[in-house]
Symmetry: C2
């Protein structure tokens, strides 16, 4: 086992190249043909290998040159390190016990029993969101923006909320809501200040629509979306490498300074879908920013479907749809974060990723869904496993429209 | 363009190897490296190529040595030939107009408005099926088998049907239902005679259960399943070849003597899932029987998810779930039907298959769903196409459990 620093397009990166073997395979080193300029550091992984494992897996990592150059990232906000990830007991096959996967899907779909606390937010006769009764109290002072109508037209005994009729155009509505969000501020909508500070990367305006591809009624700041129960769309990409028929996923560990989910495991590339950009264009942009993947490679990413969830947490009602992409990467490619949002990347055997999802909460919650979807589509979860169809369906527990 | 006869494992097969080109690509022949022993026949395909097409596609076909050795299969029961398939206007990309796909999905999901004509069929407090009021009249004479209970426990004002309490075991129930089906015969349950005649291939017993993997209450003959609204499970496999980044699907044309859907286009391998065999085992069995795919190759097939539909047609309520598989085949592999159920096979560019689905009704209806699912998972249908999420969801319009 050895570790080295290598030069790849875009700068100097330290990375790890290691393999672990059992039985007769020990004599056969399985290294990725990445460019290695010098060997700098040796590191051992204490994998626990199941009795039936015929392990021939590699873990290659790349950390950003601008931050977190150490392998162990633990600045206090992160409760685990890469070492903790490597110490997860990994099986050769994805376990037939799907319980851990169901658990992670449930974590993205909390609070359905509190659904009645929300009333429909309606624009031009279309439900575009859901607003909590308690949050509505905050909105009641903006009488020139919102109006409450006591009827049962949209399936709620409590009526529905809409915008004042004077706000006829998307521009008027966007401006009015922007003012409301600013007035309410960080105290009522936590995260709003951070979003504004890093507007370009974190705070784009989200389109407000009844369903994807339909008319956009106005735009709303990202952090405010769940308080209005607006549907939010995103792109998530599984970047993988295939070698000897085995698949490996590039996994990021979020920067410890990220305002949301610091230090957690994440996809190689993922991002919200702002107003005015297509899924494909957004993915190419995120590929460049988050992982330094040039257009010549990212253009090979393929859309493979979508997952959805509905999560109620306090006043927030998240109704997210994630468009899933796969990108098969060259074995020689090493990602390099450009925007400071990722601490480091590692290339992990898919079976280790699956076990991390099942047995830990290391992954940012919604990534679990997209990776489980990958496990389905690539044959790692089999119809013979009890709960196969239920798990498959639960990947679209939200309104996937 | 040329056609030849070649020897492959299992016997002598005539097949076609052809390519069509436009523009500058004409000088570059794109042939599959299959074993060719002699050139026997020249055939031209009158493809209509769209203006933007950069066509470089190949169509390789294999016909069973036991039947339909001619390319044009038209014995009267089939309303189209392979030539008709080749004359479909083919685009380089799958069209962004998803209308034709929606239409095919709707053809698998008819009659939802007649749902109220059916009442629940309940065993041990679990709904296992739905029976039409009219069909129930036929069952009313079997008073030692069925009983009708007028209540609203299972969501129907008309009550529910169950089995007499004396039928306690799966064996008693299976035997009782077998007798009922035999007594009703071909007149009430068309197809039952054919099923019995070709029992081994077409008439296995289907498990009666509330959902997949749950307890089997009894078994029922395949042809009778939709008359009792029993959920039926099947395996469908997309067998494909990849060359220069382009994908080609092996498509079968059903034997003209098949009692169901004679002469229609079909998957390389597909079959119902009888009682007592797992999806994976069944797939391997069907691979051998339907396409002569040896275990050494079929074991590489991967499960990739499931589609479902609910179709009401007269007294029949089909509630089908199809487990989808992908098998990437070697370019040299030529399928060879073993059980006489397939007339011939051809390897078609995926874009041609997509256009055939959109613009014709050549495919057996439920195959459309599984191929559309393939188009999604392999990136041919993109989020930018209007209706993407709706189409994706509609692939599981039935109770997928």
């Amino acid at each position: 086992m050895f570790t080295s620093a290598c030069t790849v397009a875009g700068g100097q990166h330290s990375h790890y190249l290691s393999s672990y073997c059992v039985g007769n395979l020990c004599s056969h080193r399985r290294n990725f043909p990445i460019m290695i300029s010098s060997i700098s550091k040796i590191r051992s992984h204490s994998f626990t290998v199941n009795r039936n494992s015929v392990a021939a897996a590699a873990a290659v990592s790349s950390s950003s040159s601008t931050r977190n150059t150490n392998n162990s990232i633990n600045d206090g906000s992160s409760s685990f390190t890469w070492d903790d990830v490597f110490q997860i007991s990994e099986s050769r096959h994805v376990s037939s016990d799907l319980g851990g996967f169901f658990q992670k899907i449930n974590l993205c779909n909390r609070g359905w029993d509190r659904r009645a606390d929300f009333i429909p937010f309606v624009i031009e006769d279309q439900i575009v969101g859901y607003i909590h009764n308690g949050f509505l109290n905050h909105l009641s002072k903006f009488k020139d923006v919102f109006t409450c109508i006591k009827d049962n037209t949209y399936g709620s005994q409590s009526g529905h909320v809409t915008l004042q009729s004077a706000l006829k155009t998307p521009e008027y509505r966007t401006e009015a809501l922007e003012n409301v969000v600013k007035c309410l501020g960080e105290e009522v909508i936590p995260g709003i200040r951070n979003e504004v500070l890093t507007y370009q990367n974190n705070g784009p305006l989200f389109p407000v629509t009844s369903s994807y591809g339909q008319r956009t009624y106005f735009s709303l700041e990202r952090a405010a979306a769940p308080y209005f129960g607006i549907k939010a769309y995103g792109v998530h990409m599984n970047g993988y490498v295939e070698r000897d028929g085995q698949k490996y996923l590039w996994i990021g560990k979020r920067s410890e300074t990220k305002p949301t989910y610091p230090g957690m495991l994440d996809h190689l590339v993922a991002g919200g879908l702002p107003h005015g950009i297509s899924c494909g264009e957004n993915l190419v942009k995120e590929c460049e920013e988050e992982a330094g993947i040039p257009n010549s490679i990212s253009s090979r990413a393929i859309p493979v479907g979508a997952v959805s969830y509905m999560d109620i947490d306090g006043y927030r009602f998240k109704r997210d749809v994630l468009f899933c992409y796969d990108l098969k990467l060259p074995e020689s490619f090493i990602p390099s974060n450009q925007d400071g949002e990722v601490g480091s990347f590692k290339l992990l055997p898919i079976t280790l990723v699956a076990d991390a999802i099942r047995s830990t909460q290391f992954f940012k919650a919604n990534c679990n869904l997209v990776i489980i979807d990958f496990l389905f589509r690539h044959g790692y979860i089999k119809p013979e496993y009890l709960g196969y169809l239920k798990l498959l369906q639960s990947l679209r527990s939200g309104d996937c429209s």
